[in-house]
Point group: C2
Chain length 106, copies 2
DNA sequence: TGGCGATTTGGCGATATTGCCAAATAGGAG
DNA sequence: CTCCTATTTGGCAATATCGCCAAATCGCCA
């Protein structure tokens, strides 16, 4: 694997890794509906605020979401809605696995 | 976040996590062209055979690739080609980030 | 200006991932 | 049967991730 390919795949993996966590998937799905501030997301997720804040910064770092400070709150929004289409393939994989399981039982 | 959502997102994250590694991205992209045996992939990647074998088992475990033993070799193939479309969004994110950088310099 | 609510950052222990080596396993060729 | 090649598995050290607490920031508002 040459260096150029390595760098390209490193960049790609960094972005995918940012989504490879249940809480961060929840954040992306939730922001797909509409923007939310950190406190709202924290309430929905049910984890420590600092934990949620770190998840948000991971997603922002790779450019998937955007933040905007308004008043005393920080509002996050989905910057790259295409990731939602991205997920439909994952659901396809899950469905295919389930059908494979069924076939074994039958 | 209720238990049902938690389980759904765990399953989704598991699959995405399987792709969140440069070497495994390389494997998926390579298999998208056509099937390869472990030895061929190992040569292309340039890592230890055992390392490549483990990466392959991670991808197989979540149902993204399939294996078939023929002769003394094991051939792997892409089972879920939709992941390639999945990647185009990631490229979009990378491009958007680059353009954002440019805007800052200008 | 002092204090309050919202958010981020530092740090720590627990856990997970990664990549190599060595050893086990599985088939095929001689 | 025995050697050889291809692959997988076990184990280990290095590194990264995760989630909480505590502390630092940052705006507002009285």
């Amino acid at each position: 694997m040459d260096t150029k390919t390595q760098n390209r795949l490193d960049a790609k993996a960094r972005i995918i890794k940012a989504m490879a966590h249940p809480t961060r998937l929840f954040i992306v799905e939730t922001l797909a509906k509409h923007e939310h501030c950190v406190c709202e997301l924290t309430a929905l997720i049910g984890a420590d605020v600092s934990t949620v804040s770190k998840h948000l910064s991971i997603l922002r770092e790779v450019g998937i979401i955007d933040d905007e400070k308004r008043g005393s709150s920080v509002y996050y929004q989905l910057k790259m809605p295409c990731v939602m289409g991205f997920f439909s393939c994952v659901d396809t994989v899950i469905k295919a696995n389930a059908q494979g399981q069924l076939k074994c039982i039958r």
